[in-house]
Amino acid sequence: MTLVDELATAAAKGNTADVEYLLQEGAQVNGVNCFGRTALQVMMMGSTPVAKVLLKYGADPNVADTSTGTTPLHDAARTGFVDTVRLLVEYLADPQARDNTNCRPIDLARANGHEDVVAFLESL
């Protein structure tokens, strides 16, 4: 496993301490793992602390999935983690981004019944 693979895995597992350590060790925050994804794209969406560390280190919040056009904000909105949604927006994730099915994050939040996320994204 490369350092970036490890970073992506730690992010996906919601392991904040490991994410921070790997970044300090020089793992590229916007590097892609062996599946072609960045750590922010694969992170555990409910782990706002992991999101925070990655974003502080300069993770690009607007990388879309190569197959589906999904951004991290789409995923956080679909799964309903409002704290992560707020944080991504604070770090300039684009709320108007559209995935390959032409959905915006707010559309996914609505479809999945996450009223708090819908309300927040509407307020922007």
């Binding site: 996906a12 904040t16 555990m44 782990s47 706002t48 679909r78």
Partner: protein, 306 residues
Amino acid sequence: MAHATSIQYEPVAEIGGGAYGTVYKARDTESGQFVALKSVRVQTDQNGLPISTVREVALLRRLEQFDHPNVVRLMDVCATQRSDQETKVTLVFEHVDQDLKTYLERAPAPGLSPGRIKDLMRQLLCGLTFLHSNRVMHRDLKPENILVTSQGQVKLADFGLARIYSCHMALTPVVVTLWYRPPEVLLQSSYATPVDIWSTGCIFAEMFRRKPLFCGESEVDQLGKIFEVIGLPPEDEWPTDVTLSRKNFPPLMPRPIADFVSEITEQGAQLLLNMLTFDPLKRISALNALEHPYFQDEETLTQTKS
């Protein structure tokens, strides 16, 4: 069993590497959602998959039909033939983007409210009651395997595969945490569904403490840490089929559980002790735990109404 996993499910990150195979977070390109892919390599002969594997998969599928709210959905099962002797069986589970470990870490000080803990415990025990009533034991319950949705719904992951896996264990030794293991497993005695109740007790305590209850570094150390809290069990409760003797441990008396888990109510403490009972036969069952007075007070009643 269908095939062609690779097209519909695209792995995006590795999230677990057990003794038997790897677990991936993947994207279902049809729905756009994340899934968890778990694959096991099984040896095949001219008759195809071994009967034990077919049975296990059938059991998981049968469980799935109940659509239980507190276990992760099994969405798909795929088999891909690798060679004449080997087939890869991939189980596709619903992916939940938060585990209990993260959920506990995220809770602002001073931690989860008593009502929230009770609600999580009730859901956890409902999931376990369901598994146990179908004669499935989890065997590896820990905060990382207990998932919590953004709506606070608990879903158990990583269950029911124990038997598939144990038939096909590779030789790679894996480091597994001992902290949630019951005495009978640490002593390598025989075990059954009460193992999960012990683990649940450890997790119950951890919800209050926000750190694990017993952090042993080896099997013997783990047992020592357990006896420091529950006391050394009486001679007649020590299993007879084990090599480790009771004499290896100092004759400790049980200590009040409130010394280790402050803020727990009287009834909570009582339930916790019923779960952290040395003798698996005397340990409370998941079903009886749900009927414990801890779950019967007013706080609970208002919670279920809302």
